[in-house]
């Protein structure tokens, strides 16, 4: 287990280095930030001054060296827009994203598992077909559309819930639903299909041969096995959301890292963008490692491999 974790860590470091190179390159081929930052009547001198201040006048290999050396020290440069260290800006926003997450994730799991089990147990019946239709709808509905419709109905027409920004508990309702619906739909279908697969296996027959009830067979013998692929999807979603649901956060003007990513792109705040992408990558790698460890808990075959 220890060796497994160490090996995964080493892989992660290598991956991060490659990613840093890509991020560095992308930020420099996607347009010059000076063009955006300067006013239209800026002189040639202003421009040269700004480039010097940003370090953009130096040769490219020197810029890369400075970027990597800084990154190793935890210094990913200063945000042009916020005039603060980019990492600081990121970590100011991260808690806002994290606050939105647990409700959507836990709520989605709490709904997806029982619904998926129901659909599998009553496969082919009305329950299954209705839940299947709802799931397809949930997967196919784009977040920006759902968010806007929810705002229109509940904030504008009914005036029940706030439309945007952070605030009291009522501010969490619409963004959580927008995020959660997407998650529920995907996970429910996966719970259903992987449960159906497990229900056909021989060990389920043996469990029933012992005289166990259908309930025990499904919830104990089948579900534990069926959750192994669900964990994978959960990890992917978790990583996706923890790094900011860009669309949802933008629609609801939620000041999390998703919206920060959007801002960094729009304002060509390339030090911030570099920082955001790298820090998100670290988080994703961390989550993946966590998922792998969770696997080992769920499936003894991984534990002892």
């Amino acid at each position: 287990m220890q060796r497994f974790v160490l090996r995964r860590l080493a892989q992660s470091v290598l991956l991060l280095f490659v990613l840093a190179l890509i991020v560095f390159a992308l930020a420099r081929v996607s347009g010059n930030p000076a063009d955006l930052l300067l006013r239209e009547d800026a002189t040639q001198e202003d421009r040269a001054h700004l480039l010097r201040a940003l370090g953009l006048d130096r040769p490219i290999h020197e810029q890369l060296y400075l970027f990597l050396a800084g990154a190793l020290r935890g210094d990913l440069g200063e945000s042009i827009r916020y005039r603060k260290p980019a990492t600081e800006v990121f970590f100011e926003r991260l808690p806002n994203t994290l606050r939105l997450l647990p409700l959507a994730m836990v709520g989605a799991l709490a709904l997806a598992i029982p619904l998926g089990v129901l659909a599998a147990v009553y496969r082919g019946t009305l329950v299954d077909r209705v839940s299947g239709a709802v799931a397809v709808l949930g997967i196919a509905t784009p977040s920006f559309w759902l968010g806007i419709v929810l705002i229109y109905v509940f904030s504008i027409r009914l005036g029940l819930l706030p439309s945007s920004r952070m605030g009291g508990p009522s501010h969490y309702v619409l963004p959580t639903i927008t995020l959660g619906l997407f998650l529920v739909a995907g996970m429910m279908r996966l719970v259903r299909s992987s449960l159906l697969e497990v229900m056909g296996s021989e060990f389920v027959k043996l469990a029933r041969l012992k005289g166990l009830s259908q309930t025990v067979v499904i919830w104990k013998h089948c579900l534990r096995n069926a959750l192994i692929p669900v964990t994978t999807l959960f990890g992917v979603y978790f990583a996706l959301l923890i790094t900011g649901a860009i669309v949802t956060e933008t629609v609801f003007a939620w000041p999390g890292v998703g919206r920060l990513t959007y801002e960094a792109v729009i304002f060509r705040d390339y030090p911030l963008l570099q920082a955001v992408i790298l820090l998100k990558a670290i988080i994703v790698l961390g989550v993946n490692l966590g998922v792998d460890i969770l696997y080992a808990y769920l499936d003894p075959r991984v534990r002892y491999a």
């Binding site: 082919g124 043996l206 096995n225």
Partner: protein
Amino acid sequence: MDSAAGVVLEVRDLRAYLYTRWGVVRAVDGVSFVLREGETLGLVGESGCGKTMTGLSLVRLLPEPAGRIVDGQVLLEGEDLLAKSESEMRAVRGRRVSMILQDPQTSLNPVFTIGDQILEALGQHHVDGERSLAARAQEALRRVKVGAPEQRMRAYPHQMSGGMKQRVVGAIAVAGEPRVLIADEPTTALDVTIQLQYLALLKEIQARTRLAMLFITHDFGIVARMCDRVAVMYAGRIVETGPTRALFRAPRHPYTEALMASVPRLEGHVARLPSIEGQPPPLHDLPPGCRFADRCAYVADRCRREYPPTMPVGPAHEAACWRNEPSAPSR
């Protein structure tokens, strides 16, 4: 032999069909047999003839939702299992009728320890106040000759060999001290030396507990070693039943005869092993007459029109073939 003595299980005209999108597959189509205490009945036939479906019908665990028992009776010590509710049936499974499945590699749940899975079989049934369940589970493992049961209890299935897993499956099957054990090709997935050990083990358990065993197999070598009587199944029906020796010496159904002829023998030299030409009829589209007619060397007109009734051909020996009909018509 008194025919009613010691009958534990009696199956009467059992019909179990699979309702598929291609039609109704009559996998078990009028099967009758009896099983006595301490006896082993071999159920023999080629793949797809309905052997396993027969076994699963007895514990009412047909594949859902396609499988359904349509007709018949399964009398366990006089009680009809087919008339029981699902919850009553749960009290029968494992405790009165058990089953060993074919493939040990997939029969155990990969995410629970061996101990958990045996305890579950014990915990389900009568609670024993004196000895702890764990001690009884270890004893169950010891009975199937699994070494170091204390350590094995904590092991997961993937840490064991196929033979060892099948022993565990056996331990689970007999943990509830059932009266009837259905063994569905329990050694097919094991290698030959392990097979013999496993069969000897089953014999030993049977000698101790007076289990009635229904042994599903396609291997005549195993039948000769294990079974007191044999029932030969073809296309959903039993075509011949008889004491193992009598049936081996003088098969009375052409299908049994052809099956025996295709078993390789050590003595003598055969250039080419005889095989039965053709295929069994599809179970969703059965002919009205004898189902073996198309492959039978002795086929007559009548065979294609009428299904032959089961006729006695010797002591405790019967077969369903027109050739066994007394030549002088009695009516």
